[in-house]
Structures are given as structure tokens and as C-alpha cells.
């Protein structure tokens, strides 16, 4: 009889513990979700987790990239690959130069101040290696091997030779997470380079970008280049984003539907450049306080 009572007591304690654990975890998840929705706080546990997984990702990426490079460099097309790399580097260089010339010409035509260009020339980017990618439908983020230790702060912008990559959204001590510009939750103030028509460039995942809020009367054509507008202080004006690939003017509505093909191949990102300029402006515009 006593044994039965004891067993029943034990069972009821076990059930209580189970329920308590379940409630605690659900509460933690709920609080996390609430905190993320309200402030997007990336606290010490998050930072620790990112710093813990980062080295594993880095090791796997380096090893696998090494193997892939070895295979493609030494086994497959040794000479062609090397030449291709060289040409690709040249193309990147020329594309960057071309973008700069186009921007310079447009700047001249629109009588912009030379000072703005001088500001751009003070740009000293920090190179970072991409160690992890999660370009899933809902996420579109990458992890790079630079963090608070390298003076990387949330809100900084990430670039590649072809243009804008995205923006730093979370930082840990040694690693940072970057929201890609083609993520559905990303929106950048952009303009058509040739005539300064402005709009909002929204991420559309694998499709690239969609340029919104451009009036039907605006003069835009397929092939026009889209650059950052420089509004809001996060992205400087004139950085390449992509070019218009499709335009649709529906009967209803005031605006055109414009698809933009990114200059950057987000799938093949290996390195990014983090722009440390205008840090204070970035922080102020995001209402963030540096905690260093």
C-alpha cells in the first residue's frame, strides 16, 4: 500500500517537473520572441553561441573551399581556371571603375558637390571572409569572421566589388551576421542612376530586387543602372546595386513594377568589405549606443 502511494507521489512529482520545464522553456522562447520583436537585442548568450559556432563554420568552409579549389585548380582546368580568376579579377576591377566613371559623370551632370566624392575616397574597408551562409527562403543571412574585436558594429554596411552586399545586423566578439540586401526584410533607398528617379529597393530573395514606388510617368528602361540614393545616412549615395531586368506597367495603380538584377552573385560571396566610415551617423540613425 505504502509502496503504491510512494510510486504515485513519485509520478506526480515527475509530471510537475515536466510541466515546469515545458512552461519555463515556452516562457524563455516567448520572451526571446518578444525581445526580438521589440528591440532585436542580441545579448551575451546569442553572442556566445555565434562565437561558438563561427569557428566550426570557418573550419568547414576553409577545408571544403580548400578541397574544391584544389580539385578545380590542379585536377580540372589548371590554366583556364587561373586565367579565368585573373580575368574575373580584372572584370571586377573594370566594373568598379565603370561604376565610378558613370557615377562621376552623373554627379557632374547634376552639379553635385565634389566634397561628396572626397568623403567616399576616405573609405577604408575591412575585409571579412564569409564562413557561413543561410540563404534560405526566410533568412538570407551570412556569417563573417569579423566581430566586435575588429571594431565591427551593428548597422555597418557590407560591400563587394560589384556593389552593396547588405548590413551588419548582429555582432559577437569574433563573428558577425549580415542581412543580405536581397532578403525580403531588406529595404534600401535607391535611385535610377541616369535621371535620379528615386524608389525603395526591396529584397526579393532568389529573384534579386524589386524597385518600388516609381511613378508610371518616370523615365525608366530595362538596362538602367540602380544605385543607392544616400537617404537616411546608412548607405552613401552612388553605390551600385543592380540593373533593371523587367518593367511592368499595370493598368491600375500609380507605380510601375520593376525587377532589378543584382550586380552581386549572392551565392558566390567569399569575401566582403565592411565599411567602417560614418559609424556615428549609422548608430544615430539606428538609435544604437556603442557599448565598448
Amino acid at each position: 500500500m505504502r509502496k503504491n502511494t510512494k510510486a504515485k507521489q513519485g509520478r506526480s512529482i515527475g509530471t510537475t517537473i515536466r510541466i515546469l520545464v515545458l512552461i519555463t522553456i515556452l516562457l524563455v522562447v516567448g520572451l526571446l520572441l518578444l525581445a526580438a520583436m521589440l528591440g532585436g537585442r542580441f545579448g551575451p548568450p546569442h553572442q556566445f553561441t555565434l562565437d561558438f559556432i563561427g569557428p566550426l563554420q570557418s573550419a568547414v568552409t576553409r577545408t571544403f573551399a580548400g578541397i574544391v579549389n584544389l580539385k578545380s585548380d590542379y585536377i580540372a582546368l589548371l590554366n583556364v581556371r587561373a586565367e579565368n580568376k585573373q580575368m574575373q579579377a580584372q572584370i571586377d576591377k573594370y566594373l568598379t571603375e565603370l561604376g565610378e566613371y558613370r557615377e562621376g559623370y552623373s554627379t557632374y551632370r547634376h552639379l553635385q558637390e565634389v566634397l561628396a566624392l572626397k568623403d567616399k575616397l576616405t573609405f577604408k574597408p575591412i575585409a571579412a571572409r564569409v564562413v557561413g551562409k543561410e540563404p534560405a527562403y526566410w533568412y538570407q543571412t551570412i556569417v563573417v569572421d569579423r566581430g566586435k574585436k575588429d571594431d565591427i558594429l551593428e548597422g555597418m554596411i557590407a560591400l563587394a566589388p560589384g556593389g552593396v552586399v547588405g548590413q551588419v545586423m548582429h555582432t559577437a566578439e569574433n563573428y558577425s551576421k549580415i542581412l543580405l540586401a536581397n532578403a525580403p526584410s531588406s529595404a534600401i533607398d535607391a535611385m535610377v542612376q541616369k535621371n535620379r528617379t528615386r524608389g525603395i529597393l526591396k529584397g526579393a530573395g532568389e529573384k534579386g530586387f524589386v524597385l518600388q514606388y516609381v511613378l508610371k510617368t518616370a523615365d525608366v528602361e530595362v538596362g538602367d543602372y540602380i544605385v543607392t540614393a544616400g537617404i537616411g545616412g546608412v548607405f552613401p549615395a552612388g553605390i551600385a546595386l543592380g540593373k533593371i531586368s523587367r518593367i511592368e506597367k499595370k493598368q491600375r495603380g500609380m507605380f510601375q513594377e520593376i525587377e532589378v538584377e543584382p550586380h552581386i552573385d549572392f551565392q558566390k560571396l567569399e569575401y566582403v568589405l565592411l565599411d567602417p566610415t560614418d559609424r556615428k551617423a549609422v548608430l544615430d540613425s539606428m538609435n544604437l549606443t556603442p557599448k565598448r
Binding site: 553561441t49 564562413v131 557561413g132 543561410e134 527562403y137 526566410w138 526579393a204
Partner: protein, 176 residues
Amino acid sequence: MLVFLFWALGIVLIVAQTTLLEYLPLWLGRPDLVFVLVAFIAYRFAWIPGIVLVFVLSWVLDVIAGIYLGLYPLVCLLVFTALKTLTNKSPVKESTYQIPLVGLSYFLMQIFFYFVYSLFLPDMLPEWSWPGTLQRTILVVLAAVPLFILFNRLYEYILTRRLRSKPPRRRSQRAI
């Protein structure tokens, strides 16, 4: 031991998902390996170790890749609870139903994600695509087949080792 080993396996899957799977062609898409593990945990583990494992693994993936922190753990816990409740003492637990249930729950999870976004973050709502949703679901189902074989083998191997290492119970004097 069992929980720790599956935690380590989950970490390996997360690292693989965020590094190696990138070498797959873009048109193919990428299966959510962690989701498959969450479903397996729901089938095989008890409530408390299951919840702890699912929470920890989904938290890690959320930190690595998530934009709105907390959403992925919440969805994974909901999926775990739903699958656990559905399969508890039910013929649905049989292996025949396991893989299709993974696909169904992944499909519903995508709809749930979209629903949450449309309620709380309508400005950031990505474009909905039925072919894309179905493709991702099929990919998860295909990935679930070899992964379930691997998980089952590992699970049974650990259980067998644990049973072997336990000394047999002696009968008490009174019983004799």
C-alpha cells in the same frame, strides 16, 4: 549520453547546412536538415529531453541565421509538440507514416511562417510561391529518408551500448 550525442549531431547538421549545402545548385534549393532532426526527436525522444534538444538546436540555428530572434525556436517547439501529441500511442508513429508526416509538418510550418509575417511584419512579407513551397517540402522529404536511417542507426546503437553496459539486476532476498 543520448541527448548529448544528438545535440552534437545537431550542431554538425547546422554547420553542414550553413556551409556545405551552399555548394548545391541554386535552382535545387536547400533542405532544412535541422527540421528533419526535430521531427525525429519528436518521434523517438521523451517529452523533456526532446523539448530541451529541440529548443537548444533551434536556438543555435536562430542565432546563426535568424532575422527575428525567437521565431524559429517557437515554430520548432510547436512542430515538436504537434508531432509528439499526434504520434503518442498512435499507429501514426509507425515508420510508414513518419516521412510523409515530416513533409506535411514542414509544409504547414511554411504556411505558419507566412501567417506570422503577414500578421506582425506585413512590410517584410516575402512573395508567396506554391511551386517554391512544394519544392522545398519535397526536398525535405527526400533528405529525411537517408537522415532518418542514420538517426535510427545511431539511436539504436547508443541504446544497445547502454543496455550492454548496465549490469543485470539481482533479485532481492525477499523475492527468493
